[in-house]
Symmetry: C2
Subunit: 296 residues, 2 copies
Amino acid sequence: MSKRRIGFLGTGIMGGHMARRLCEAGHEVAAWNRTRAKAEPLEAHGARIADSPAAAAEAAEVVICMLSNGPVCDSVLIEEGVLSAMPGGSLMIVMSSIPVETARAEAEKALELGLRYIDAPVSGGEPGARDGTLAIMAGGEQRDFEEARAIFEAMGRPTLVGPVGSGELAKLANQVIVSNTLATVAEALLLAKVGGADPAAVREALLGGFADSTILRQHGKRMIEGDFKPGGPAKYQLKDQRTATALAGALDLELPVSTLVEELFDAMVSHGHGDSDHSGIFIELQRLNGLSPDGG
Amino acid sequence: MSKRRIGFLGTGIMGGHMARRLCEAGHEVAAWNRTRAKAEPLEAHGARIADSPAAAAEAAEVVICMLSNGPVCDSVLIEEGVLSAMPGGSLMIVMSSIPVETARAEAEKALELGLRYIDAPVSGGEPGARDGTLAIMAGGEQRDFEEARAIFEAMGRPTLVGPVGSGELAKLANQVIVSNTLATVAEALLLAKVGGADPAAVREALLGGFADSTILRQHGKRMIEGDFKPGGPAKYQLKDQRTATALAGALDLELPVSTLVEELFDAMVSHGHGDSDHSGIFIELQRLNGLSPDGG
């Protein structure tokens, strides 16, 4: 695999690991972060620290953006001149979770400037970023995806899921499944518990059957043990669910289960549990039923 | 493990395999089925065919009931005299999916007659019954469960989930998770599809992450391929979901997602798709949105 000159924007909790892995794979990385101190540990891995986003981009063959959200990403790429600094023909890869429409608009601007664009948000959290096992959902041209494959594979398992915007769509599909399955497992375990069975044994009995899921295994265990340290804070789960149902609305698409689950997470956050792990929806369901968090 | 004298009631699609596996494990099986011809193939495996349910029960140490539903099971056990034919101290194991209250009432009658009782419904369908890999969810006394363990292990993987009735509760929890996850995966794949991504690639990208589930793997594939041959017919899924929400109602428990998903399956069955596989909820969701089954 050929080594590339990569500009990396946003070296926070996730991005720091991702940029390190690219250094370790032998790429020439120019890293930029708003708080410079968070980029500096990358120097030990061979990265150059850039003074501005445009400086990280100007000699790059590939620029990767892992900034925290759509507006930040958009403002750095456009107002702070990343796209206009990039050499003609180079490839912009946005790995932040941003709205589908933002990705499409950025791709259009990139195209006008003679650049190429892939949206490629990830799932797997900090452990996935650290270990290079992220699920990477990419939207763009097949040719560009193939060119970027080795770069993606330094960070995780990439799948091309359609044209530009599709990566973000896949991420929303992922988040909707996560939210709805959390609420579902909470309902099933609460029914078992209130009905008089041992919910821990019920969860155990269900593993390996049609009801099995990563959520039942990991978050079902949290619900039973009452361990709601994040993990994935409920407020972010709610934000993603809102983005998904808003997009569905814009597509004139009714998704009744996802809409209802959004209301449940909204109630959870309103009741002051936005910073709890999303599996804490189990507590919200008990509250809704006038039960104490111990199921009493 | 010691060989036991087992009366087996109901040798249909599931029960036929289960009784055969008990014969193969060396137990002495007396099999009864309303349509005798369906029990006769068991003779080749060493079973004796009984002329009545009571005849299958009268010399048994353990009687297993795998009849099709609660009323049938109840009428055979009580009106047709199975419980009163069973020797004192012997063990009644009901492996049919029946209402929790029916199981508890039967257990009480068994106790009055000096018998013991376990409810132990299964999940895993015909392949699980054939291969002896059923998930077996048992409710009863620990001592009785341990005594029956070797019998259960000839048919699958048993877990004791609580006192009598808990097996049926666990089965309902299982079914609620299955229904709700089916509707959830349908919503996520439809969002991806209508948004312009390739739903097959999106499903692929999500495997291994938090959104992963047996339903995404098996039924998500069916949704993408439009393969709705049952499998698990939607009308049975609806029946189980109704049983679960009715029980929740009796427990004064609100399960909003499960209640909504019951309505979706109800609509699917009303629209004439009760005999389709439960993954056909994907079609119902498209109908709800005025889309053709091809997503057009």
